[in-house]
Subunit: 279 residues, 3 copies
């Protein structure tokens, strides 16, 4: 696979043969649309098949946004028309079940908003480290009548317990770095000034470890706590059903009228504004 151009929404940066960075770059809001999924899928395949790779860090090049909700201006059909992946799941959930199984270590480095897809990517990574001051994790879907499609019901509830997962999912509010750490939503929240150094040191450390040992240790952790694919598929199907409902269409439209989907205060403080949506 060749290096992707700088204009790509998802860029691959090979720090070394054993340590890669995947940089998400779809300004201004780092929304996820069909192009993002296609580019991410290509990188996913490279991650799975590279013989030297040990560790991948996922990060953002867009200030304020790690990875955000779906791009409602792209054609929904362009997303659903992408052929199913090798797992037999649709494109986005296919990526999210391949990532936990990949024979390398995956680390989410979170700065800014990680809403919807950004939270789902975080939960599919092996570890996550977040800026204490600048992180906003959330699953916003229920507030607009949707069900999340990338598996947080399956993963977050296993990771942080039923009660806190339901607070995140049903409250649909923004979760800052400190609370995300207290709940175990991320591994740790670090002072923003220390985040890059911490993750780079850890990734460098792991890049010197043995690939066979990494892969087999992950395999056994997955056997213990990874959800079966059928749960991820069920979540995706519920999401697809939800986006077609008139209630959902009306709520998303009303939210856009408030300022959603444009740079500004609603995207910055989405949790707050979701609570003000009319009923």
């Amino acid at each position: 696979m060749q290096e992707v151009s700088n204009s790509a929404q998802v860029r691959l940066n090979r720090v070394s043969s054993a340590y890669w960075r995947v940089i998400m770059n779809n300004p201004p809001l780092n929304l996820m649309g069909p192009k993002f999924v296609l580019q991410f899928r290509e990188i996913m395949t490279a991650i799975e098949s590279d013989a030297q790779l040990r560790v991948v860090v996922f990060e953002s090049a867009v200030d304020g946004f790690f990875l955000n909700h779906a791009d409602f201006d792209t054609k929904f059909e362009d997303l659903t028309a992408i052929p199913q992946g090798p797992t037999g799941l649709e494109a986005w959930p296919d990526i999210l079940v391949r990532l936990p199984r990949a024979p390398v270590v995956t680390i989410a480095k979170i700065r800014g908003r990680a809403t919807g897809n950004g939270s789902e990517l975080t939960l599919a990574c092996d570890m996550s480290f977040a800026s204490r001051e600048r992180t906003r994790l959330s699953q916003w879907e229920v507030a607009v009548g949707m069900v999340a499609g990338g598996g947080p019901m399956a993963r977050l509830s296993r990771q942080i317990g039923r009660n806190r997962a339901l607070e995140v999912l049903l409250g649909s509010d923004d979760i800052g770095g400190e609370l995300a750490e207290a709940y175990g939503y991320v591994n740790r929240a670090l002072p923003d000034a220390e985040l890059d150094g911490f993750v780079d040191t850890l990734a460098n450390r792991i890049s010197g470890f043995d690939k066979w040992a990494i892969a087999n240790t992950k395999r056994l952790v997955n056997a213990a706590v990874s959800p079966p694919d059928v749960e991820i598929a069920a979540g995706w199907e519920a999401c697809m059903a939800s986006v077609a409902r008139p209630t959902t269409l009306a709520r998303v439209r009303a939210f856009r009228e408030l300022g959603f989907h444009e740079p500004g205060d609603v995207e910055d403080r989405m949790g707050f504004y979701l609570g003000r949506l009319g009923r």
Copy 2:
């Protein structure tokens, strides 16, 4: 279902069509007996079948006691004679497996002692918020020779991990608000003065969300981490076997002689006194 009278042990207070409060009121100790279970079951059915309801808050009207252990002065047979519920489980565990499945959000607002049944109700709710200063959660059963009957072995161990669940269950000690939060036994412990406002704000927020999205999100979380009914049934059966044992009868009798089951220091600091029970 009509509004229950003020003399009831369990009262229903409709804040709005979408937001209800269930108020537990069996002074002075908020013990749980057959009447409580029958009234709670009626409200459970209303919660399940109401088309407008989105969120229910469970709280206490009795100072110092959220919901307490069983009432040993009521006839045990009056409890066991209640017909099995629609799940095929006995009355109390039937309620506790229906609550997590109900298509609405349930929130435990905890002030005072939540021992035995109070802890079990908390664990069956979707979320729980506790007074930092005034919460005493506990599973006291092992200290008197009993096994808990309402599912904490199944739920608490999934929620907070085997080691901390065993500390709670086998140590039989009181757990204050701060430790309960640190362990994830509750979602959060809040300063007592902020608890009502926090829960009311969250409940109001959720009351404006879409019911279909709430129900389907909960359904998928339950698929991931809710225990199978057979585990809850096994817990109930072990509890029933335990209460008939001579050792248990003798320990409960000895505990009553210390002051248990009456307002006073033993009920206030039950964990401490359980450690002083003769062997």
Copy 3:
């Protein structure tokens, strides 16, 4: 079973008929070899079959080391030649699946390094309390090309969530008392000066409780969250495969050249030195 002599690597100290201490004593590093496993297995059988016993505390008599990695100077064949235990698993994993099922409460009291086997023993105990200042928990295996053999992939991921378990397992770094508590790796980290008193008070408390209630409560917690034996077996097999790999042999040899396996700075700060191992 008769009291084991003071020269034993694992000593049994009966505080009372209901409260025992198991003291691990293989100075200077508290490594685990075949003799340790054989002695531990004998005590395991005593723990399972004693009618009066309620609680067992596991602790170390070796300053700075709770229980450490395998002893690479003993003959590997002496370990693998020990007949399988009653579970059908090999000797060490056999012990580690019998311990969680034993009808008594088991508590790990951790001071010093708990690496590899020490961490695995901790995770197989019902509860663990650690010195805040003097604890170093770790699974070091991946850093030398190994897979851990005593079940941490199965247990740690269920106990603290996939993301934090993978950080521990794949980062192979030392985890201090404070972080171990924050992650739920141990129940609590206590100031070193308070640790003995806290654990002794808890053990004394539980030693007065009813054995039937303890056993049946544990049984139901195990039904909820204990891994199936086949997962533990798979972990052991991956470990055995890993130690035979040339990469692993070379890395362990290089680590010994740095000072590993001898008293000194490498054993004291193993996490740090594992990051400096050549590739």
